[in-house]
Symmetry: C2
Subunit: 210 residues, 2 copies
DNA sequence: TGCGCCCACTGCAAAGTTGCAGTGTGTGTA
DNA sequence: TACACACACTGCAACTTTGCAGTGGGCGCA
């Protein structure tokens, strides 16, 4: 059993430079997801026990369940969504530009950039989910749940007398996020989330205006 | 910052197979000693701060002082000596063979085999200590302290009406341990502690009988 | 001499991990 | 069917690490 913890330094200047505690928590979550992916890819979901994952990741089984509610969640990397971040707060209160589309794009970008687990992990999770119906189901349920939260967020921004229903805006947000993710991943992670979301919106517009 | 924790499985069958907690504690102690050795070898003892060591090892400075009383102790790898192990208990109560010399050898062997930090680390510690008088002093003080404990151990075994003073037996024990360690290390760690202690005793005997 | 700074080291409370002893469910087997 | 067993998952207490706010000593510098 040999465990490697990658503790990356937060380089940006204005960010508060995550403490050791926070960095270790991230590293452990990622280690668990990665271990799960490795084992599930090799042996299949049902042949892999939580205990095996934990041995691979070098933590106790109890700790596993401090990070994920179920084994399936570890495959999907489901983890509390940062719906309380500065970016969402800004969006809810009408920022950053005041233009709805632009601000939706900014939000999508922040979702993808601040994703609690990296892009590649999400890609692997989706790959595995495609093969295991149970995972897909759980993933969809998870999406559904968050759509509700997104709707609430949008409701806050638009108020009651909005031109659109918050549900349709929420769905759009989710769709944009997914599409942008796919484009970004297809590019091998090149470029910024910002660029990709813009491209997606442009594509979408040209599709719709024809 | 990138940290590798090696969690070795205890393979022997009768041993209780150290739990995860215990293995992590060992791994961390060793990581701290190794980090200290790397940095001190490169920059010198006084140019290395505890904080730097901890960054290298991926733990907080507070944790460092949970493991070592002082910075110097980390270089030397000074750590609670397993003077309460099964082997010492057996020795104290007249085992394992009943023959004093044989049992001393067994004890030396157990010291070296169960050493809380590996052979190579001890070698590096001694190397560094040779260059830093302060370390050497601390090391000697530490030896002195343990000689007392060894004497007490031997006192238990021999009782009051012994043919030898416990001090001289204690010194012999320490000397044998050191000499065996050197021989073992010179052999690059080849062979067992048992074999080396026997060889040392044989050499010693031939020296003395001439 | 006095002042400021760095650094070793400590005490304590909060956060996190681990061990353990469960419960419940599915599955293979007599 | 009944039993055993493996495994997901939970509750809780014990233990460990971490953050933080110190203290005190040494050292450069005005």
């Amino acid at each position: 059993m040999c465990v490697k913890l990658h503790l990356v330094q937060n380089s940006s200047v204005d960010e508060p430079a995550l403490g050791l505690r926070e960095r270790k928590k991230r590293a452990r979550r990622e280690a668990l997801i990665d271990a799960t992916h490795r084992l599930v890819a090799e042996h299949g979901l049902d042949a892999v026990t939580v205990e095996a994952i934990c041995e691979e990741a070098g933590v106790s089984a109890r700790t596993f369940f401090n990070y994920f509610e179920t084994k399936d969640d570890a495959v999907l990397g489901h983890t509390p969504w940062p719906l309380d971040s500065a970016a969402t707060e800004e969006f809810a209160t009408g920022g950053p530009t005041g233009n709805l589309l632009a601000d939706l794009q900014a939000l999508v970008s922040s979702f993808l950039t601040d994703a609690p687990i990296g892009r590649q992990r999400v890609a692997r999770a989706l790959e595995l989910a495609a093969k295991e119906p149970r995972l897909l189901a759980r993933h969809l349920a998870w999406m559904e749940q968050h759509k509700g939260q997104l709707s609430a967020l949008i409701e806050r921004r638009l108020g009651d007398d909005a031109p659109y229903s918050s549900e349709i805006v929420g769905s759009t947000l989710l769709f944009l996020t997914h599409a942008t993710f796919l484009r970004w991943d297809a590019a091998g992670g090149a470029g910024t989330a910002d660029e990709h979301v813009s491209a997606v919106v442009a594509d979408l517009r040209s599709i719709l205006t024809d």
